[in-house]
Symmetry: C3
Subunit: 323 residues, 3 copies
């Protein structure tokens, strides 16, 4: 979802075409966390395989297919090279595997269709948002994944679940005091849940990848995760959900986006990023409740909505500087 | 919902005012399928009367009222002449008749209010979308019809149904293998459902009208219908719904819009149109599920959302040319 | 939510800073009804205290905090002076008190967070809408309040209600014929419900405040309230809800916005305002039904959506003149 174009340590000179492709595809995976870095992408792919090999395969092929479709349609070369047509494809394919089951032929078919559509949506939304110099972030993924998962129960080849996924949201239940394990698991799981993965060690691998690409970005990811934990705990979110990273994943992305990636990093933007991360944490159960009656998921909608509004405000705030 | 302005065979010279009005109103009906042709409009009105005389009356008067309100407000003459203020009025009035019952006085009142509001919404949305040279399509109708049908149970003069229309969507049930009858009925019903009509012969009359106005447009309508049928069948949609055209109607409009109406017709745009029609077919049960908990309907929202995003992407895709 | 900048009778010369602040905060409260007038704000605060002292405190401090945050971020001085960063804060804080209970520490915390976020959202949405010279109206409040109230059941410190607030909307029940008491109570309650208050005498105080700032605005508020009553009664809304102002509050704001505040007042804009107020009245139960399954509220969304579309259309309508 990033915008940065220069690679971080990936030199561009005289590289064979196949290697160029590999680099673009890996950058596509890394751009889910704004990092235009193939090294970071390697860490991320490793994290997905650590969670389960089908996830690694779907994520990698999703980025590859998105990049290929964008190249085939002759979209702007710079964006393709930076991996900006890979990250939505990666997430769309991965989401199909996670929510529809990786082993069904129809899952593959709808993932291919979804990745192709996500490339078009990225271009279309990009053109619309360009009016205000706003990035599309993961909005293309959120749109396609929401449509696909909500449509799935209507198609018997796509839906293998026992009952209906649609339900009215119920008020929070269970204890809210975090155990030590829930606290540190949650800290890493917040980073893993960006790719739908709740395991702490998977989150740790993702975090290592971010640090490998950029130390400041890694620190901001940590700050976003901590803000999410603190906000969720203070307002009394169920501890079990907090420990699985279900409250804080959008905060991680918001913090990175608002301090360093799209806004120049300084004290003011750090405070802005913390405010944004707290807002996204409150927004997460709200979007869970909004989408529950039609069997949807919050995905990274809280990140997308918060970041877009906060970025749109930046030109009006003399304290902050857009990059 | 079209944009084409020159009439197809309707000469403009020295025509008495009353005839001008009739031509504008008939073009208004025809513009539901993008055709600025009074001959096509005659076929469409015949199709509505074939489905039931109240539908013909509501559709025709809806187009007439929309055209009259737009003239009264002095909106741009060219758009009024092309029928571009008739098609949303036609659909709004028809939708009131279909969903609230044509015989109640309050249905007439809310239809009149809805058509007038639709003219304003068309102008307002048109001004907003003009930033990206995007057409309003049937979005004004979808907005007004969604508001009206969702509000209806809250008003005792508007709602004569037995129970509450709001319900959570249930997973698809029933057989998915299409019989031969369901296949060819569905092919025509996809075209009829644009006007809410499930009968195959009504769809056939609509298709004849499109062919009367433009042979390429007729072929694209057929391609869109076929894409809808194929996608719905492959993913396992219930055969009964497919046979009534409930999955494929948006695909028909998407295919026409993306190849010939708003994008120059060639091999690339044909492929683009097929991709869009398939996407809209998946989106249709998704929007059915989203709107079910508040008693709404998918209407042509799948067409509107898919076409807008696909059209917004066109300037970024060198393979395609916007017209 | 207004745009008018010159104060009405509040002279700007040589005023001590503390008084300036008081004036800005009171104007912030008054801008909920578009009035950049501290005198009007005094009436409004009195009305809130008449409804219950916690409401007065939350409303006043909400406006003060919004104004302070905007000043701290160095947002455009003219807008801050006109009270344009107070009204959304006032409504956000008040909404927290009304829907989450004023006496809980977490309500205070989330109100502070919400008011700060509302300032950012006002700036962000303002920048986006400026493309079409559209005002943000109460959209920032509606966004923040919807997110907060829908998220609340997910947080055990925020939610003290007995059961789940999420439910499917049921069709209207009960008598629809208005008694004389319901009629005149509803007339004033329509104005009070803009601040969530159903008492007729509270609404009367608000109306007095509007008249104190501007006689034409007061008349338009009355016309909007009457249009709401008439539309709701004619279509058969439940009389009990009409008498509490639950159908007509958006109509009051729409009428003021479309005749006098944002569109030059004349016969055409008066008719336009009545059409808009009627449309907003129908939209109100629709948005109630849309938000019910996720435990949301219609808030002033009907006013925001109707007014934005009607204002966007104004440049296309030669009969009307935008101010």
């Amino acid at each position: 979802m990033g915008q940065k174009k220069g690679g971080s340590g990936d030199s561009e000179v005289a590289r064979p075409i196949s290697l160029t492709l590999v680099v673009e595809v890996l950058r596509g995976v890394a751009q889910v966390d704004f990092m235009p870095s193939a090294v970071c992408g390697l860490f991320f792919v490793a994290a997905l395989f650590a969670a389960g090999w089908p996830y690694g395969v779907y994520g990698l092929l999703g980025s590859a297919l998105g990049t290929a479709v964008a190249s085939g349609l002759r979209l702007a070369r710079g964006a393709v090279e930076a991996g900006l047509h890979g990250y939505n494809g990666c997430l769309v394919a991965l989401g199909c595997a996670v929510f529809l089951g990786p082993g069904h032929p129809a899952t593959v078919a709808v993932a291919v269709l979804g990745v192709a559509v996500a490339v078009v949506v990225t271009a279309g939304l990009g053109a619309v948002l360009d009016t205000w110099k706003l990035p599309a972030l993961t909005a293309p993924f959120c749109l396609v994944a929401t449509a696909t998962t909500v449509a799935a129960p209507g198609f018997r080849q796509l839906w293998h679940g026992a009952g209906a996924p649609a339900a009215l949201a119920a008020p929070a239940a269970g204890p809210t005091g975090l155990t030590w394990d829930q606290l540190w698991h949650g800290f890493f799981a917040n980073i893993g849940q960006i790719f739908f993965m709740p395991q702490w060690y998977v989150g740790l691998l993702f975090l290592a990848g971010i640090f490998a690409a950029s130390r400041p970005a890694g620190l901001l990811a940590c700050a976003g995760s901590a803000t999410g934990l603190l906000t969720a705990w203070a307002l009394g979110a169920p501890a079990a959900a907090v420990g699985q990273g279900l409250l804080g994943y959008s905060g991680v992305l918001v913090a990175m986006a608002l301090c360093g990636v799209f806004v120049a990093a300084d004290g003011w933007s750090a405070a802005y990023a913390v405010l944004g991360a707290a807002a996204a944490t409150v927004l997460t159960p709200a979007l869970g409740a909004v989408t529950a009656p039609f069997g949807g998921h919050a995905f990274t909608w809280p990140f997308v909505l918060t970041t877009m509004l906060f970025l749109a405000a930046v030109p009006a705030i003399p304290r902050l500087r857009r990059i």
